[in-house]
């Protein structure tokens, strides 16, 4: 598979290319709601969109929340700055997401994005708009972010590549925090090659983010693929069937080994504990007097004042603030938060051992794309358990990539490949060779030349 970025920048564009494109994109966007904001000033370069929690100077960056309505940052995120300073790229706009990244299906926001394959279906979350944009437009990449699966999940549901790099390889400066020890900026694209080009552009040390310290990226090929028994069992039958076919095809080139991993199987609880604990502190700053949603009545006691403003958080955000605050309180902190940190380091050790030997492969999601109406019926815990496969690599900061491998009833399925810290190129290479024998399908190829 070629790089769309190289292909696009190598050919002459019609004179009105961008004007025509934006007219069509606006029309299409009214149906799919991929973008919150479209930058119609773009007039040369390969388009990139940014998830609405990545700061772009002067553009509304609302993190999918009413609390940040109208908030236009005064600075660019480091990743954005690095893209904008490269003539190959042009900023396309801001893509929609679950409020502050809290969601598996993209429905936790005022106007959810729709699946690029069928509008009745969920786009996946939380980087929902980013995935849909990549699936709608031929020449476009999305800069997105994952905390517990927010890149892999929507990528899988929209049939694009979703690459989440090693924690600390891409600066988080300018990323509106969900859970700082888990948040990773990554790329969603129509080819692994484009994901790699953008990754190379945005990665590397940044004095503005202390945790951005991974400089060296390797491409150490593994000969073995691990499949985790206890986890695969939890997937729907149809998913299992398709996934078995994938394993059969890979069986020629790789040694497939089915193993157990108690740590990976129990990763959901510690993940949500850490994520909620951190999130509840990150959301404390939204008090309605400095930016975003501004309170009108300032003649109140401060407690009353900020409590009134914070009514405007969505349901899921409120749930996580309450749970996260509870988890942090002194009387239960050791029981939940401290224990979760311990389990997290045990998980990292266990996965590290496996990943030295082979990759870990799984379906990205245990289910097929659900209808938006069905998502709304899920309880919070049912919804969290959909992150079963994406959580372990996210909790451990391991690079992982979701790639389309099958289409069932016209909807794409994604598989997730995980490797060790810093070995990001290996999984990009893996998907690149997979793409040689696989044909991507799309409903629309907006911007096609």
């Amino acid at each position: 598979m070629t790089s769309y970025i190289e292909e696009f920048n190598g050919i002459e564009k019609p004179k009105d290319y961008y004007d025509d494109l934006f007219v069509q994109l606006e029309k299409l966007n009214d149906e799919y709601h991929a973008f919150n904001v479209i930058n119609k000033d773009a007039d040369c370069g390969f388009l990139f969109g940014t998830k609405a929690n990545i700061c772009v100077k002067g553009f509304e960056t609302d993190a999918g929340s009413k609390m940040l309505k109208g908030y236009a940052p005064s600075f660019n995120a480091t990743a954005v700055e690095r893209m904008l300073s490269d003539k190959r790229f042009a900023f396309a706009g801001v893509t929609g997401m679950d409020e502050f990244g809290f969601g598996t299906f993209g429905t936790n926001t005022e106007v959810p994005a729709r699946n690029a394959f069928d509008k009745e279906y969920a786009a996946g979350g939380s980087s929902s708009g980013a995935a849909v944009a990549a699936a709608l437009m031929k020449y476009h990449v999305s800069i997105a972010e994952s905390t517990g699966g927010s890149i892999a999940t929507p990528a899988a549901l929209n049939g694009v590549v979703g690459f989440t790099p090693t924690y600390g390889s891409v600066s988080r400066y300018g990323l509106i925090d969900y859970a700082n020890s888990l948040d990773k900026i990554g790329v969603m694209a129509r080819s692994s090659e484009d994901a790699r080009i953008v990754f190379d552009r945005i990665r590397g040390r940044d004095e503005y983010d202390t945790t951005c310290a991974v400089e060296k990226i390797t491409s150490e090929r593994r000969k073995k693929i691990f499949v985790i028994n206890g986890m695969l069992e939890k997937a729907d039958a149809s998913i299992k069937t398709s996934f078995e076919k994938l394993l059969n095809r890979l069986g020629n080139a790789y040694e497939i080994e089915h193993v157990d991993s108690s740590m990976m199987e129990m990763a959901i609880a510690p993940y949500y504990i850490i994520a909620m604990a951190e999130a509840s502190t990150n959301l404390a700053k939204y008090t309605g007097y400095k930016y975003g949603l501004m309170a009108e009545d300032f003649y109140k006691q401060y407690n009353e004042f900020f409590t009134d403003v914070r009514e405007n958080f969505g349901m899921e955000a409120k749930r996580r603030i309450l749970l996260g605050t509870f988890i942090r309180s002194a009387s239960v902190k050791d029981k939940y938060y401290t224990k979760a940190l311990v389990i997290r380091s045990m998980l990292i050790r266990e996965m590290d051992r496996m990943l030295k030997e082979g990759y870990i492969l799984s379906p990205t999601l245990p289910i097929k794309a659900p209808r938006i109406a069905d998502v709304r019926k899920l309880s919070p815990v049912e919804s969290y358990s959909m992150d079963l496969f994406t959580i372990p690599p996210n909790l451990g900061g391991f690079p992982h990539i979701s790639f389309p491998y099958d289409y069932v009833d016209g909807m794409p399925l994604g598989a997730q490949l995980v490797t060790g810290h810093g070995n990001d190129y290996a999984i990009l290479d893996f998907v690149k060779s997979w793409e040689e024998g696989f044909e991507y399908r799309y409903k629309t190829n907006l911007g096609e030349l």
């Binding site: 600075f75 300018g174 700082n180 202390t210 400095k290 309180s329």
Partner: protein
């Protein structure tokens, strides 16, 4: 009675703790950026200078320096706190388990931690204004164990601490701020944010009286946080039942763990100990010496420079004279040399003398005015008492200078005046020998 302190000291860095904004801006809200305003997406960057200064303090307080330091988020809602959490330290603090000696007693130090200062709230009539210039300026919090048991101990703890900070180069022009924890009985009462030693003592006095009163009446002392009111010199309830529960501390994930083993810091000077050493074997009390040098490194330097040549008493006297009349912030070596010489000659050194010395002239010094008869008498008496010197003079006429100096210095006389009368007398005496 148990008293524990949480002392807050501003660290002497030019930029803020987590961003490069200046710490010295005057115009309100002129030294702010996305980081110290806590804008969404911004992240803290740790100021190395602040860590080094804090390490110097922890080391001076005999805390073993932790090799890896980390930070926590302390969450509470107040308009001066832009992120609604303060970045501070707990287990990963710069230093812990140290002490500061006050005389024979050691006040144990639980922790020395780095933290960011919140913004400043300015009440203007019905309005509450916020100046974010202060937001994110670096502080060190020194947490003591409740080892202080009297007003006097608190006073000497604070003064030793101030002196130690001063010698480390931590600017303490601003008054020391502290939270004062006082328990007369079992229950701890915390009085928040008391500024300056004077108010700390007033706070203590008020609380002793209040809590004693409650105990006497058989009432319970509530565990609470109180505030000090400077006007009424009293404390009032701010919040009841304050506990760590509400702060919901979590590890600060944006800062990870820093290895500080390679960082350098200043070595401490304990002025009280230095004073004891200097006063040893002299007629000056260590207390007098420490009062001079506690917050004055230049005086310490002068004492160390001159003490081989002059008595400690004269040096200190000279320094005090200069402090009273001198024009410059610190005395020039040559000026102090002359002042001390004059003092050792038995002169009171008046303001005019110091003005003369500072402008490079000979000092106008008050000499005793004696009649010729009195002077004759004095000289004769001296010569009778020192026959050896007279014999010496016969052999070596230069000895006259020593005799002049001794008589002049011993009696506050001008040497020329002494010489005028001495020469004929000495000539006569010498003839007789």
């Amino acid at each position: 009675m148990k008293i524990g302190l949480e002392v807050h000291v501003a660290l002497p860095t030019r930029s803020k703790l987590f961003c490069s904004c200046s710490t010295e801006a005057a115009e309100p809200n002129s030294s702010i950026c996305p980081i110290c305003m806590g804008f969404p997406g911004s992240k803290p960057m740790l100021n190395r200078g602040a860590v080094e200064a804090a390490m110097g303090i922890a080391n001076a307080l005999h805390c073993p320096i932790n090799r890896g330091i980390s930070f926590v988020r302390k969450v509470y809602f107040y308009p001066d706190l832009p992120k609604s959490y303060q970045i501070t330290q707990m287990e990963g603090a710069v230093g812990s388990n140290g002490y500061l000696a006050i005389g024979e007693k050691r006040i144990r130090i639980r922790r020395v931690q780095i933290e960011e200062d919140p913004a400043q709230i300015i009440r203007d009539g019905a309005l509450t204004l916020i100046d974010f210039n202060r937001s994110g300026t670096p502080l060190v919090e020194i947490v003591t164990e409740p080892d202080i048991s009297s007003e006097e101990e608190m006073r000497s703890f604070i003064s030793s601490l101030r002196s130690m900070l001063y010698y480390l180069g931590v600017d303490i022009n601003k008054e020391i701020k502290a939270d004062v924890n006082i328990s007369m009985a079992e229950t701890r009462v915390e009085v928040k944010n008391v500024t300056g030693i004077k108010n700390m003592i007033e706070t203590l006095r008020f609380e002793i009286e209040r809590q004693t009163e409650l105990i006497r009446a058989g009432e319970e002392i509530a565990r609470e946080t109180r505030g000090y009111n400077e006007k009424s010199k009293s404390t009032q309830t701010l919040r009841e039942k304050e506990s760590d529960e509400e702060y919901g501390y979590v590890f600060e994930p944006d800062l990870t763990v820093f290895d500080i083993a390679e960082l350098k810091f200043n070595e401490p000077v304990y002025a009280n100990d230095v004073a004891v050493g200097l006063a040893n074997g002299t007629d000056v009390s260590p207390r007098t010496v420490s009062e001079i040098i506690m917050l004055d490194r230049d005086s310490l330097r002068q004492i160390e420079r001159l003490r081989g040549r002059h008595s400690l008493r004269s040096i200190i006297h000279g320094i005090e004279r200069y402090k009273k009349y001198g024009r410059a912030g610190r005395v020039a070596d040559k000026v102090l040399d002359n002042i001390v010489l004059l003092i050792e000659e038995g002169k009171e050194v008046p303001k005019e003398a110091i003005v003369d010395l500072e402008s490079g002239k000979e000092a106008r010094v008050e000499y005793s005015q004696l009649s010729d008869e009195q002077l004759d008498e004095l000289i004769n008496k001296y010569l009778e008492e020192n026959p050896a010197l007279v014999r010496e003079y016969v052999k070596q006429p230069k000895t006259i200078n020593l005799i002049i100096e001794n008589i002049a210095r011993g009696n506050g006389l001008h040497p020329k005046e002494v010489a005028r009368k001495l020469m004929p007398i000495l000539a006569k005496v010498a003839e007789g020998k």
